[in-house]
Symmetry: C2
Subunit: 302 residues, 2 copies
């Protein structure tokens, strides 16, 4: 119909989009693990932690070096050049992949119901100007996160879980059921190591990182905390259910504002919960969790 519009260049000439992405993953990991400047970045260890092999890790490391965040000597591997900070604060890695942007745009459009519940791939390809392959990866990811599903014929349907305005309250109600229940499960237990690791991380956040973290990171850290706790039930169904809720809550998170004080209080509750869990008073812990989840707090943040 319209003139054969010279479509957007197939692949922009930034050679190393993937590499920068990997670099970001590595930095995020280093951050979570509380690594400091000077710590070694051991390929195999990173590979294991990220469920990859050394080849892609190495790409990421080279990108980190190019960005000045790591230093490498031949045969001696790489070393962190700076204390890892928020990725968002690293302009050198700011080449957020195009797909991320499209993802975010779609998420925004769905949340604002600017998209119909049922859509076809072709529609989306036109609307967001992506290739079929790119779109399919996106859709697969979204499907895995549980907010879109294939229709039997053509097209996809967004889950009501996202499109509805009450979704946030519903997510909260759901968590208020499963999280305390998980803790109250007969076999519930957390190893000392896990508790220590969680406490360290929360403490770090509490003491000096809250100010430097983005909303997304704070949210992520909260999710990981709760998921680690619920994992203690030893029942993957609880964990998986929580993961799904969280992946949807993440969509809302970007809209919520940063209330650093509220967050501090929130993290303090996490620490308190850990204390109770450590002494194995699980009934009490379940109770505490229930109250923790009821607190109003920052919209959408727990």
């Amino acid at each position: 119909m319209s003139p054969p519009d010279s479509s957007r260049p197939r692949s922009d000439k930034n050679g190393s989009e993937r590499a920068e992405h990997l670099a970001g993953l590595i930095m995020a990991l280093a951050r979570r693990e509380g690594m400091k400047a000077g710590d070694r970045l051991i390929e195999q260890r990173l590979a294991d932690a990220l469920d990859l092999s050394r080849a892609p890790i190495r790409l990421g490391l080279k990108a980190l070096e190019a960005a000045g965040l790591a230093r490498g000597e031949p045969h001696r591997g790489f070393v962190l050049a700076k204390n890892p900070t928020s990725i968002a604060a690293q302009p050198a890695l700011a080449a957020v992949r195009r797909n991320e942007q499209v993802y975010a745009t779609i998420a925004g459009d769905v949340l604002a119901t600017r998209l119909p519940a049922d859509v076809t791939e072709a529609e989306l390809m036109r609307r967001y100007d992506v290739t079929r392959a790119e779109l399919q990866r996106l859709l697969d990811r979204i499907a895995a996160e549980g907010w879109i599903a294939r229709l039997p014929g053509y097209g996809w349907r967004f889950a009501e879980t996202v499109s509805s305005p009450e979704a946030q309250a519903q997510a909260k109600a759901f968590r208020a059921v499963i999280e305390p229940a998980a803790i109250a499960q007969p076999g519930f237990a957390l190893t000392q190591e896990v508790i220590i690791r969680l406490r360290e991380r929360q403490q770090r956040v509490f003491e000096d990182e809250i100010e430097k973290m983005t909303i997304g990171e704070i949210f992520q850290s909260g999710c990981e905390f709760h998921e680690e706790i619920i994992r203690g039930a030893g029942n993957p169904f609880f964990l998986e259910a929580l993961r799904r809720v969280n992946s949807i809550r993440r969509l809302f998170a970007y809209r919520s504002f940063a209330d650093r004080d509220g967050m501090r209080r929130h993290v303090r509750e996490h620490l308190r919960l850990l204390d109770v869990l450590e002494t194995r008073r699980y009934t009490e812990a379940a109770d505490l969790m229930a109250r923790h989840l009821q607190r109003p707090l920052v919209a959408g943040l727990s």
Copy 2:
């Protein structure tokens, strides 16, 4: 390595695999709806119910006619030729699609841990002798059901939810938490129509169909019952969580034997539950549900 084995014929000459599949869907629907011989099969209505358009429905109807299960007059549409019975009992439609078999085989292999947790697509293609496209559809479906997930690099990883031997008990524990809790949610409500429809269906199963149904069908009917109930909470997170558990329980179901008496008792409990729900005694209903779910019963059947 081995001689270039003349691979399996691309597409066996059964022209209408898809059509038979659609026919099966239509019969299953007719069955669920309690239709009888002589009832009209209205294209648009079927299309709406199956989330498809009339084109594929029509294919299915023609296949049904070819199989002698429906009769069609020009310009007068199709009519059920026989009371719809178990699809398994319809040899004419027995051309279960090859993919179903592969699916079942994979499921079996995973349950019996004959497969490693991490697999690559190429491995699976070789092992089950399917094309890439076929395999991808299967994997997508399995991923949607939640028991496999893509790894960041190559390959896929089966969820521990399936591979572990305690999965069944864990599914039960999880349901015992969410189902009663859903009923106990503040806004819980079921419309009279839903209750009536459910009661009808359960009654039908109870009175004369249990004997004729396959394990899979009985299981399916149970799932639908519970899902319909939980939907009353108006919170899609509960519903979705239950759906996921059920799609995994379905894998186990095929291994369990048929205890028709246990099932009768089971269905009777469903009917009792409906009575309580009808009078809006939700606390009591939640209780009843909790007990219903605790009952040992047939392995894997609730």
